[in-house]
């Protein structure tokens, strides 16, 4: 192995170094350009959309004359003005750009208005006179299930005989859980700017995780071909899945206005509209039935998941598949039946959000494990360990993938020791026994998360690399930058591969005309896929240079080595990288290359839900300790310890940021972030004034996060790193279970409390009061 292949070696900014984000200096000075900051073309129009006020209704009359007559208005568009396809749905054609006859949720787009200023457009959009003929609306997944109202067929996975196992089990528990959704709350709202080009072509600047999809949807809407549309995105101000399928709507509308008027058009959503109009994490109603033995080993289990998908399919098929794939989390489930319903409701169509259904799957099994432990009066951590996937045995998932890279036992053992779980459990018991208004709770929860798109064909990526004659490099790939540091990591890979300082590499905007047919930057796969593709491109160029140098200097190709801005020519001579590049140029060697990567080993049959959907698993574990107030349900997270597996990290600072940020975001999902609809189907938590994501003071007072060291990925990923975007979010289940533990202490752990998510102060107080009522009604306590 040469030094050049060793991560963490030269050059400056190579692989494994804790570099700051490549745009960090621009972020802190205000110099980073987001879509709304791009200088506007002359004559730009501003666009606003008119949205439905009813959850389900026929449009009896749509009078847009007052909109047309409003000051500054230049154009008003409805479904009739779409030359191509009136759809932006990513999978099915069930998401109209403009609802024509019927609306299916409050906030559904019906028309657009273009005006000289943002203010004029938004004011005008409010002037439409719409008569609605109400239709029956389903506003709740439970009701949808009753009416068998689905956006997609239900699906199931069966292994073994869960019915028989449940019958035979020594102990059996059943329950029903409600799990809330979550708004992505990226700080930069949805936005697109379309600029007409010659010959009817369209250039679209879109804040999107999926430029390729925006390109296709815009082309379809305009009645054009993919070749006629270019989509560009340098960066997003956060995305979290909310900019995977959703941006197509706004890009299509901006492009339609641009095509119709011949002028550039920009559509930027106000925050309230953004939260009302766009999809969120799916909320669920979950039923379980579990049978287990005296030590809590699960013998049979059945899950029934009912997800609120909203009014259309969007990405709900894949989201709910991932829920099914993660209802095992870290545990071996022998006899198992998983049923998943994709409920159609007259609410906004739910979509991707960090974890993509996985968190909801895990929530259920972790809840069940906790219930088993409380029933048996043992520490939940013991039941968790009892059910962990084995090594060499009990290691096949319900979908028939063998868990080959299991490091759960090691991670949990190390974390348990480092966090002093047992000692703190004792201290907490002593504190709680003192009988104040405050109670403490603690929980350790693990994460095992499958890495790869479950749709196998999406696991591919391309890159484009140019080397200029002065030795500087232009890097492009199909991934998008939403803050996760993908561009920095991929540049580090190229710096490491070419052995040049990272300053020589220009990181450039995602652009459908440079790298075609790229998948969404999603499923935590950005670095795995694009890092490998860029590496391949760099290797192609390096191989050409090596071959050229061998011929030019008359030495063996093996004697050419790239080291820290230099190229070693045989044992005694070294020339600058730039010089070799220059020589190669004059010798007419191509200095531009594409790179391509497809994830190996994976295969999966959607019909039978079996195969190897995941290339590998990412692991982690967290211990959370909380304090609750038994009079009000208020709480505080006192301490959190995390040990997370990033493989051999490409950039430990960026990976640490993903772990910490993902954890806090997950904590928000399970605690204060509550989506609340009224009986008219209107979302009333549609701004930061009513929807509360964590702030600085919510971060645990004592927050100890570590990346697992010397943990090279057992699969041949780029420099043996692991994906880190989504898995840490689910570490926050520890906070939820610590809260449940604290509630249980109110009745001295005699009974298991029922706690729905999100665990707002109200939910916690309800759980306490319900527990006390049950305890009072049942004086003879079960003493296990």
């Amino acid at each position: 192995m040469t030094g050049a292949d060793h991560p963490g070696a030269w050059p400056k900014g190579g692989v494994g170094q804790a570099l700051p984000h490549d745009s960090g200096h621009l972020h802190v000075t205000g110099g980073a350009l987001y879509t709304d900051d791009i200088p506007e073309p002359r004559g730009l129009l501003h666009v606003a959309i008119g949205v439905s006020a009813k959850p389900h209704a026929r449009l009896a009359r749509v009078d847009l004359e007052p909109v047309r007559e409003a000051p500054g208005v230049v154009a008003v568009l409805t479904a009739d003005d779409i030359p191509g396809s009136n759809n932006f749905g990513p999978v099915l054609a069930d998401d109209p750009i403009f609802a024509a006859d019927e609306v299916q949720y409050v906030g559904q787009s019906m028309f657009a208005v273009a005006a000289q200023t943002v203010d004029q457009a938004r004011r005008a959009a409010r002037l439409a006179r719409i008569d609605y003929t109400p239709l029956p609306a389903i506003l709740d997944p439970e009701e949808a299930l009753r009416q068998q109202s689905f956006v997609l067929p239900s699906a199931s996975i069966r292994r073994g005989d869960s019915k028989a196992a449940l019958r035979k089990a020594a102990h059996r528990l059943q329950g029903r859980l409600r799990l809330g959704g979550q708004d992505q709350f990226y700080l930069e709202g949805q936005i697109a700017m379309a600029v007409p080009q010659e010959d009817g072509d369209m250039l679209v600047y879109s804040s999107t995780q999926h430029p390729g999809e925006v390109q296709h949807k815009v082309a379809h809407a305009l009645g054009k071909q993919a070749k006629d549309v270019v989509v560009e995105c340098r960066r997003m101000g956060g995305a979290f899945g909310g900019k995977e399928s959703q941006p197509a709507l706004f890009a299509c509308i901006a492009a339609l206005v641009a095509q119709l008027t011949g002028r550039a058009a920009k559509l930027r959503l106000d925050r309230d509209d953004d939260m009302i109009v766009t999809g969120k994490r799916h909320d669920f109603v979950i039923r379980y039935d579990v049978g287990f033995d005296a030590v809590g080993r699960i013998e049979g289990i059945e899950f029934e998941y009912a997800a609120r998908c909203g009014m259309s399919a969007d990405l709900s098929g894949a989201v709910n598949d991932r829920t099914m794939f993660h209802c095992d989390n870290a545990y071996y489930l022998d006899n198992v039946t998983i049923v998943s319903h994709r409920c159609k409701t007259h609410t906004v169509s739910n979509t991707a959000f960090r974890g993509f259904g996985g968190p909801q799957g895990m929530f259920a099994i972790e809840y069940v494990i906790d219930e088993i432990a409380r029933y048996l009066h043992v520490d939940p951590l013991d039941v968790r360990k009892t059910n962990f996937y084995g090594i060499g045995e009990r290691n096949v998932t319900p979908y028939q993938q063998t868990v080959e890279d299991n490091i759960l036992h090691d991670i949990v053992a190390r974390l348990e020791a480092d966090a002093e779980y047992a000692q703190r459990r004792d201290a907490i018991n002593a504190f709680n026994a003192a009988g104040t208004l405050h109670k403490r709770g603690i929980a350790l929860t693990p994460v095992k998360f499958g890495i790869s798109f479950t749709a196998t064909h999406l696991n591919q990526a391309g890159a484009l690399l140019h080397v200029y004659t002065n030795g500087t490099v232009h890097l492009n790939h199909g991934g998008t930058e939403m803050g996760q540091g993908l561009f920095t990591k991929v540049a580090q890979v190229v710096a490491g591969e070419l052995q040049i300082d990272i300053e020589r590499i220009k990181i450039t905007a995602s652009d459908t005309s440079k790298v075609p047919n790229a998948s969404a930057t999603a499923a935590s796969s950005g670095s795995d896929l694009n890092g490998k593709a860029a590496q391949a491109a760099a290797r192609t160029i390096k191989d050409r240079l090596r071959e050229f140098a061998a011929g030019h200097f008359e030495i063996a190709p093996e004697a050419v080595a790239f080291r820290r801005n230099e190229v070693q020519i045989g044992a005694t001579r070294s020339i600058p990288f730039t010089e070799l590049v220059n020589l190669a140029f004059f010798a007419r060697v191509s200095l531009s290359a594409t790179g391509f990567y497809r994830t190996p080993k994976i295969h999966y049959d959607r019909k039978t839900f079996s195969g190897r959907p995941f290339y590998y698993y990412a692991y982690g574990a967290a211990v959370a300790e909380v304090l609750i107030d038994t009079l009000t349900g208020e709480y505080r997270v006192l301490r959190v310890d995390i040990l997370h597996d990033c493989g051999q990290s490409l950039n430990p600072a960026i990976d640490l940021g993903q772990v910490e940020g993902g954890f806090i975001q997950g904590m928000g999902w399970l605690t204060a972030e509550e989506l609340w609809w009224n009986e008219q189907g209107e979302l009333k938590t549609h701004a930061p004034s009513t929807y509360k994501i964590p702030v600085s003071s919510d971060v645990p007072i004592d927050f100890r996060v570590q990346l697992l060291e010397s943990a090279a990925n057992r699969e041949e990923t780029v420099y043996r790193s692991k994906a880190v975007g989504e898995p840490p979010l689910m570490l926050a289940l520890s906070v939820f279970h610590a809260l449940k533990d604290a509630v249980a202490s109110v009745e001295d752990h005699a009974l298991s409390p029922h706690l729905d998510a999100p665990a707002t102060p109200e939910a916690v107080l309800n759980a306490i009061d319900a527990l006390r009522a049950r305890s009072a009604a049942k004086p003879e306590r079960h003493t296990g």
Partner: protein, 506 residues
């Protein structure tokens, strides 16, 4: 006195302020144009971001510098709801203002970069500005100071840990003496040095003495300097909107698209900006910002410290006024229950006449107050503490910081031995207005302050309020928790608990 409409000084029709050390003079300013719109749309100065346009996310945070006596005072504010004319006489500092002329990063920026404090970077300019305000307010900061300073800034990517670290580290960068001096903004703390004092004088000169009076199309804006002129203007324009901090009025424009043809800004009225301590009163001008008003209140009533720290966020407290909070008539303003239980009285001014009204009588119905056309709140009189009186106020919300309360309860009790001599209880969030709990009080008055009577009073709360269910809480939770808050007050005043809240655990 020359009326504001008869101003002859041309400067009085021009908004003047400093930006990057340069004087900006604007004619024909639309009074409801926000500072953020001005920066992004007029100047194409796009570092400052819009995240919510309601002052709740902090992406638009900028800092205003203005003279405070002879000293320069810096305050972070939300530019998305601050109207442009209110910049008059101030220095506007944005994220682009901080780096040195040679591009050297400000210590705040350096620390944020080195600590990996940005991911997507969209919230970063606002966070940098909030930390800059903290940097200039004090010469070091602990976790609590940092959390308070950042209470109005949302970050969805980082989980805040690196930002908190940067806030601690920024002082070290400033203390690096190897660096050449890059001016007052790069020096930590309120330096009060010659450079800052010179800037003060420059701002005072810029401000001039004349009242600002603007006309832009149909829209008018007045910024009187004295209370008599204000009273005259409000009488002449009874339909005018009175603008103080704009933390609510700003949203009428950015969210409700309301037309506000006439604005009368009270932020320049000298008499409304004073805090006086009389014999029995703390006498606070209605134009005093919440930041300034809460300090003397907490000095007299330390029990309210947590409540007031949780009141919105620093940028909102820096702009919003106590008078505005009261006059606006929200059912859930967090100061009202406490002020009602203290027996606060309002001075209401109309033309040349002033009348006095108890705060509890000010609220008539949902968002309806006793203010008559042409009348405004001029002063707030808060009784000083009396010995033997115990007071508390507790706020319940989903999130600790910068959340609107589901329930806010305030309690004041005076005991005569065991017997309740005087009791005042008020809640916000349980009715259409902040309201006293009369039945509950009756159940306690002249009874012994013990478990039994308190339990009876808790039950009596059901006669006082019929709370609703909304996105903040269910009616059932509001009922339950309002009773439990009274119980908590009883436990604390009877010594059964130490009064430590879950948020006090460090």
């Amino acid at each position: 006195m020359s009326g504001p409409d008869r101003q002859s000084d041309p400067a009085a029709h021009r908004v003047q302020f400093l930006l990057d050390g340069k004087q900006v003079s604007l004619d024909d300013v639309d009074p409801t144009r926000t500072v953020l719109q001005y920066l992004r749309e007029d100047l194409r100065r796009t570092g400052t971001k819009e995240g919510c346009a309601e002052g709740d996310c902090g992406a638009c945070t900028v800092v205003l510098a203005e003279p405070h006596g002879a000293e320069l005072r810096l305050r972070a504010i939300n530019s998305c709801i601050q109207f442009l004319p209110t910049l008059h006489g101030k220095q506007l500092i944005t994220v682009e203002s901080l780096a040195g002329a040679d591009g050297t990063l400000h210590p705040v920026q350096r620390a944020m970069l080195d600590c990996h404090g940005s991911q997507c970077g969209f919230c970063t300019p606002g966070i940098v500005m909030s930390l800059f305000a903290l940097f200039k307010a004090q010469t070091g900061a602990n976790r609590r100071d940092i959390d308070v300073a950042l209470a109005g800034n949302l970050c969805r990517c980082t989980g805040y840990r690196p930002i908190v670290e940067a806030a601690g580290a920024m002082y070290q960068y400033a203390a690096d003496n190897e660096q050449p001096d890059r001016g007052w903004m790069h020096r930590a703390g309120p330096a009060g040095d010659a450079e800052e004092r010179a800037l003060c004088r420059q701002l005072q000169a810029l401000d001039g003495k004349a009242s600002l009076a603007l006309r832009s199309g149909e829209r008018r804006y007045f910024a009187p300097r004295d209370i008599d002129t204000l009273a005259q203007l409000v009488s002449e324009h009874p339909q005018a909107c009175i603008l103080a901090g704009g933390t609510d009025v700003g949203l009428w424009v950015t969210k409700q698209y309301r037309e506000l043809p006439t604005l009368i800004y009270v932020g320049e009225v000298a008499e409304l900006r004073t805090v006086d301590e009389r014999d029995d009163w703390l006498d606070i001008g209605a134009g005093v910002t919440l930041s300034d008003a809460l300090v003397p209140i907490v000095a007299h009533y330390p029990a309210y410290e947590a409540l007031f720290l949780r009141f919105a966020s620093p940028p909102i407290r820096n702009a919003g006024t106590l008078g505005g909070n009261i006059a606006n008539g929200s059912p859930i303003g967090d100061t009202m229950p406490a002020l009602i239980t203290l027996g606060t009285r309002l001075m209401l001014r109309k033309g040349g006449a002033t009348r006095e009204l108890a705060l509890e009588d000010f609220y008539l119905a949902y968002q309806k107050t006793a203010l008559q056309p042409g009348e405004f709140v001029s002063r707030i009189r808060i009784p000083l503490p009396s010995p033997g009186r115990a007071v508390r106020s507790y706020k319940i919300s989903k999130r600790f910081d910068q959340d609107i309360s589901a329930v806010c309860g305030a309690f004041s009790v005076e005991l005569d031995g065991e017997r309740v001599r005087d009791i005042r209880i008020a809640y916000g969030g349980l009715a259409a207005t902040p309201k006293r709990a009369i039945a509950c009080e009756q159940a306690l008055l002249s009874r012994d302050w013990n478990e039994a009577s308190v339990q009876g009073a808790m039950a009596a709360l059901d006669r006082d309020y019929s709370p609703i269910t909304d996105m903040r809480a269910s009616d059932a939770y509001r009922r339950k928790v309002s009773k439990n808050l009274l119980y908590r007050f009883f436990l604390e005043t009877s010594g059964a608990t130490d009064g430590k809240s879950v948020y006090d655990w460090r």
